[in-house]
Amino acid sequence: MPTLYDFDLSADCYKVRLLAAILGIPYDRHNVDFFPGMKHLSPAFLAVNPLGTLPVWDEGDLRLCSAHAILVYLAERHAPGGPWLPRDPALAGEVQHWLGFAEGLATSAGAARLAAGMEFDLDLAAAQARAHQLFERMDEHLWFREREGGNWLCRTLQPTLAEIACFPDVMLSEEGGIAREDYPALRRWSDRVKRIPGFEVMPGIFPAKIGA
């Protein structure tokens, strides 16, 4: 059984849990107390991942240490040729664009959440300003996608890894003091993500139907 080194409140770890839930991939979770315990910097964890970052996916002979690498691996391993990582060259490029965009969300909206909620010594105002810029771009993009009849970030009929990678830092943004009132298309998109079959929540994110 694969092991996920995981912190419950981490947006990056949630990306992996979310895709695993949707694809029905079983795993053992190994809790690493990132905050306040700072266990990701402990010798025991640095022996697993010298970078000291979460999540880590461990299958014994394979160990992957970044959320997006794990997403790509799981999609190809468990749903090869499926909708999550399209083989079409243009669509494959679009997915990669959004995986990169999601890194930007992590270092802006995600960083603001770490500063506001976990007392990380980061420039909160700058992170919030950058997150608003990215949300505005995303909202505009999704608005045009809706005009074309599309529901998702890439020009696909079904959700892709782009959704999984971008969704957590968008949905958790209020914990970093970044409101989403001004981004209606972004909000509609996040409601659609919540209705993907197999969708799973994390603390801070509620299901589309409360109490479900």
Binding site: D8, N31, F35, P36, A116, M202, P203, G204, G211
Partner: protein, 285 residues
């Protein structure tokens, strides 16, 4: 928000937690805030802990797995007798920073009505939403609020639960930003698990919640117990941060309570009677 509101005497002269003891390593001081003031704390070479502001040393107390300090002249910290029972697991289960007043945090801790909606499948489940009649009173010396006979259906009341059950709760509020909750232990029907929320008001509209447990659990690791508590607190955080106003209004007409809010009503009256103004919106006239 005003640049630096001073705490009222009642709030100032209390002990406040600033960190779990297990999170204070020897060496470099760590910095946090209390009432908007920078407070640094450290562990000395001999293992003792100290705390100070920029210009003075502060009193310290090591109790219930936390380091406590005060900007005023605190009296005795409240007692949790169960904490010293030999067969209990005492776990400092985590710290979460929340952008809302500490009193809002305590009020949420006292509320059973939100369990099925916010902690679905763990502390509550639809359609079991009813908060049954319960008792609330002040202790004769007026120092504490106690709510008893609180019964609530919970699918997974604790880390050792194997099925849903009606769980009995007792709440104590012995401190303006701390509450201690007792709930029936799934392992021993005659004894109660203790779950405490210790609030550290970092500002008027922000606090750090330190969760401390003293429970009967011979199965799970500290790590899993901590994970379980952080998971629950993580569910509360967005709800708390969306509350308006961010300070707790004490005027009985400011918000519309229902019967299930009896403890909260008593808590607000108690804060008013003690003259609390920090982190709250005092009643006018």
């Amino acid at each position: 928000m005003s640049p630096q509101t001073q705490p009222d005497p009642f709030m100032r002269d209390q002990w406040y937690p600033v960190s779990a003891l297990q999170d204070i390593a020897a060496g470099t001081p760590r910095v946090t805030k209390l009432f908007g003031q920078r407070v640094s704390y450290r562990r000395e070479a001999d293992g003792a802990c100290s705390a100070s502001t920029e210009d003075r040393a502060l009193p310290v107390l090591q109790r219930y797995g936390c380091l406590w300090t005060s900007l005023g002249t605190p009296g005795e910290l409240f007692e949790i007798p169960e904490y010293t029972e030999a067969d209990r697991r005492n776990v400092a289960a985590g710290t979460v920073a929340v952008q809302v007043s500490a009193q809002r945090g305590i009020e949420n801790f006292l509320d059973m009505g939100h369990f099925p909606y916010v902690h679905t499948g763990i502390l509550g489940a639809l359609p079991h939403t009813e908060v049954k009649e319960y008792n609330v009173e002040e202790t004769p010396d007026g120092r504490e609020i106690i709510a008893t006979e609180c019964l609530f259906y919970q699918p997974m009341a604790s880390t050792v639960s194997t099925s849903g059950a009606d769980v009995e709760y007792i709440y104590r509020v012995p401190h303006p930003t701390c509450s201690v909750l007792y709930k029936s232990s799934p392992l021993d029907e005659k004894r109660l698990d203790v779950i405490a929320l210790f609030g550290q008001p970092t500002g008027e509209e922000s606090f750090r919640g330190h969760m401390v447990l003293s429970i009967l659990d011979d199965v799970n690791t500290d790590d899993f117990i901590s994970y379980f508590q952080l998971h629950i607190f993580g569910q509360d955080k967005p709800i708390l941060e969306n509350q308006m106003p961010k300070r707790l209004p004490l005027d009985p007409r400011a918000e519309t309570p229902i019967r299930a809010d009896k403890t909260s009503i008593m808590y607000r009256r108690w804060l008013t009677r003690h003259g609390a103004t920090y982190g709250v919106i005092p009643a006018q006239g």
